[in-house]
Symmetry: D2
């Protein structure tokens, strides 16, 4: 049994970590930190936890808090952890960071896309990109995991085998993505009010969304060469879910068979990736509340392109679930522990 | 380890039973019956179960199926089980019926409200009304449990202690209820299409809803006298959730203190009933996906009335969850086994 | 052709006034005032008006602005107009106030429920309560109209004929109401974020909602005696719409026939009230975008009560539409001018 | 004043035609035909029309009905009009067909994609493709207009100027589209139930959607050469709205300036196309209920592509509104008559 601390516990991702850890047999929650709600009872903020968790939110006295836990989840804004983390803190507890602070190896790219000065670039090298199905071996040994973004996890996993096996031309890769509103966080912004979002759809961050360089970096590793993509996210009126639709030109010889084989090769045995049967498209409702990524594809012979589709729950596999999965890998637990919930329909 | 069979497995309640049993340590699913989808793989219909459950839906050869299970859940239309069930079948397996067939002791009332002839009235007496928090001792010994309806569970639990303790005048009890759309089932009806339901609200079954006599019968037991109520349900655009708002005149001497004491007396130690703190109203989102019923109240001194409010997930505590809770009681399992999921927010 | 000014033009009600006046043949918009967006182009805030309205939002220099218009709509917070309005301003332009400042004749009740000191109580007497179907003759002569609230309009109209004709016992009147989220305004509050409201329902302001004394005052006029009610509003996940369900005990002799006659007597010739056919319940979708109030009822012989139901669009008949209707009456225009839009389904 | 008949009046598009014509000064509705609801009062089916329209739905005795109207709208399934229409009927009334029957000039392509035998191929030549902003001159003289599909109108208009002006390489054009659920019609299908659609997103018709050849044909005319595209539609949980996001590689020399000029050249004076300001993305809520198409774009210098975005209301500009606009052009009315409604927000 280990103990976990959560910084940023009152955001949607933080709340989801608490929910998942509540059902985890190997972990106990040591403390919850929330700057906005310091001193308040956690169940007064998230009444789903009423009669379940009786803990007050603490402030940011991290140094003393560190001694009381084995692992820290930071579900905090960009720049928070990087301005606080020091190498010696990693000797005390392992860190799983849900922000983008340590996801991008080239600090210049991070600073350019996020418009933030990185305060601890010396720790970037040590950080492991926590895309479990791709970097499992490195994650096992990691002290600092950069948990991937929701769009990113879905976008990368959906294209990874085809890029890796050279079945598609990465120069033609176009990624369109749909996101539920919880991805925008719990901040009090007019743009995220019910009446501003409900019954509407829009693209946003067009050609400038911060998840773009993260997707490109990881796909470049897979391709073993530079990959540049168009990534266009859209906001749609639902609470949870990411759906990506990716289009790319097939390389010579690529066909249904080789594509399916590639997916099977990399993901056939993965507990949390489900490869759809022929001609089926993933739907976000079928992964809601679970750690699954559902992936399907369709070859279009008329245009010699493949349409790849992936779906996940942005708060689970796209955030808290993958963070717990990373923790399981880092501590040698069963990788599915705490993550076995069946998707909830409807 | 026992085995369970589910008849009507492809409705929303049936699917929820399958979901809950998938996480239950003491039960294995023996078979799934669905007349509409006989022969089809269950995970092709409910793709949330893809890679999780690999079973084909069977038809209605109940007699031979009975030998293979210890308990049968029937999530079937009114009149199905009552036209099929025979006493000797109860020797083979216990039955938990999610329809209304055995909920009402007076068969004439059943036939009047449901416009169906009851085909096995001789079994009504044996059936136990499966409102766990009220009838636990009888449920322990039951072979046939009539699992309460969603509106009913919420309506009764919310008023029960105040009726039982004579704190309100039952003749003044007005029950208004809101329901998510999953309560209307999965039949292909125009009235339940997205565009007919979304962005709208309506009352329905006004003065004629079939859950009325069920509520009245149970509250009459509590009151030890005849209770007649106005029950007005409304359909609102959300997937899951029941919210009831009940208003009644206070009897002499009833006040905040005596009301809270009454709730504490009957439900203070219940695992699945949460009594809200002062002045807080339950919200359906805080019980979603869980087996909880959240109850709050407010005394209005201007009118000498109390407003009682209850919230539950119609597919869990209002259907499948209570059915599993009944099973746990009937078989001597921990009553919360398989039902410990924290409500999922958002 | 007259000119109108709108103060508070960037709230949802203000935006709806602008929308309705854009299609009105007798009115031109003179100016738009918004403290929050002063200096910004209106169509940059509400892009539905892009290429339609090209006006910048002004600040609060009301004195000079008054000379340029014949009527002023104030869609502003409680206390705004009452702290600014002076009697001589009413000589320059007529005022239609969408706040509660002049709705309640007894200033003590206003101050008690709104927790605000009223700064111009001397003007309350002159103000006419702008419930068009009830106070039409007084509105014709008014210089200052207190436009009723959304819950209030629906609650009063639905019960008015039965109270007036002494068909129900007002002491037994219970009002439950459902509201879409636009009624909560456009302020940046966590409670109104999409993910906080979507897929949930809750009661709020239980026994304390500020629309209560307004309903009671108007129904007391109708009853010619003091009426005290329980009013319980609920928030449900849709943009627009109010649905009220009211329950009351029938007086001796009241039946379907006398009830229908009463509704016909008061509303049978009203352009914006539609009396549902027998056994039909109003649905908010059937009034969306329009100025209609749909009213239906059902007598329950078992309980000797009547269930009355009313539906309207909170931003139209519940706010901007009724304000325009009041303007039409005040200026002698066709009462339906600018308000003839057919409800939009779906 | 002319008279219009509507066949298929009880579908969502038919209902929208009735709504728009109700506010049109030059048209009176002559009759409403609905096979499913023959003999029923229209306002009993669509209660938004209660107290507004008092007409019974007729059956299909078209020959006699034709004499009573000047124009017929057919909002009917594929294959209906083509199996009924004869050339002499066009002498009696003009036809505006909202189905795909006469949209595609090559009958083989129609039959291949729609899996229907075309029963009146001899009339295809005469039909004018009713994309008003592109084919206005031909529409003026037309007797038979093939009203474009919702996805199609949005997809074509969004790309048209850039294709026409050779600013993008049509071989690289990828079209992703999002649709509200009303596009799926009012048929009683499980797939369109509230609980199947709400809180979910999915792609459908991947590489096979029937609007593909229609888009390709029209863009080929613009390009003056064969255009083949990937068109991937998605279903998202809202009532109304189409949002397309199109990506294409820029040709040499194309930049922000030349792209904006191209849009201005073709659409700058169009009443129903609004070109967004720099860096703004269209949102479906800002066109809801109106006949507008909002178009925006963003050049991505990193990838040398342009992302084009278009939004419209699928039931208005994507169906009924464009049909009325076509009628206005055909009969010489003001093109905007009956279509001036401001988009309704929220």
């Amino acid at each position: 049994m280990i103990r976990a601390g959560i910084i940023g516990a009152t955001g949607y991702a933080g709340n989801e970590i608490v929910r998942l850890l509540s059902g985890h047999r190997e972990v106990r929650i040591g403390w919850l930190v929330s700057r906005s709600f310091e001193g308040q009872n956690y169940a007064d903020i998230y009444r789903n936890f009423f009669d379940i968790i009786d803990m007050d939110c603490l402030g940011n006295e991290i140094d003393e808090l560190l001694d009381r836990v084995d692992v820290v989840f930071t579900a905090t804004p960009q720049g928070f952890l990087s301005s606080m983390l020091k190498r010696e803190m990693l000797d005390k507890a392992k860190f799983i960071d849900l922000s983008a602070d340590y996801r991008i190896k080239d600090v210049n790219i991070y600073e350019e896309w996020y418009k933030i000065e990185h305060k601890s670039p010396e720790l970037i090298e040590e950080a492991v990109y926590g895309l479990c199905e791709v970097n499992r071996e490195d994650i096992k040994k990691a002290r600092l995991v950069a948990n991937p973004g929701c769009f990113t996890t879905c976008s990368i996993l959906t294209a990874y085998p085809l890029i890796k096996e050279q079945l598609i031309d990465p120069d033609t890769l176009i990624i369109n993505a749909l996101s539920g509103v919880s991805g925008a966080g719990r901040g009090a912004k007019v743009a995220n009010l019910f009446c501003e979002v409900n019954e509407s759809a829009k693209a946003y961050g067009v050609a400038t969304h911060r998840h773009t360089p993260e997707i490109e970096e990881q796909l470049s590793y897979a391709f073993n060469g530079k990959v540049t993509v168009n990534f266009t996210p859209h906001l749609i009126p639902m609470n949870r879910g990411i759906l990506v639709t990716e289009t790319a030109s097939l390389k010579d010889g690529a066909d249904e068979g080789s594509i399916r084989s590639a997916y099977e090769k990399y993901f056939g045995k993965e507990a949390f990736i489900r490869l759809m049967k022929e001609d089926l498209s993933p739907e976000t409702r079928f992964v809601e509340g679970s750690n699954y990524t559902d992936i399907g594809f369709k070859v279009d012979r008329r245009t010699n392109r493949v349409i790849m589709m992936g779906a996940l729950d942005n708060l689970v596999k796209g955030a808290a679930g993958q963070a717990v999965q990373n923790m399981n890998i880092m501590f040698g637990f069963d990788e599915a522990e705490g993550l076995r919930a069946v998707p909830m329909v409807p």
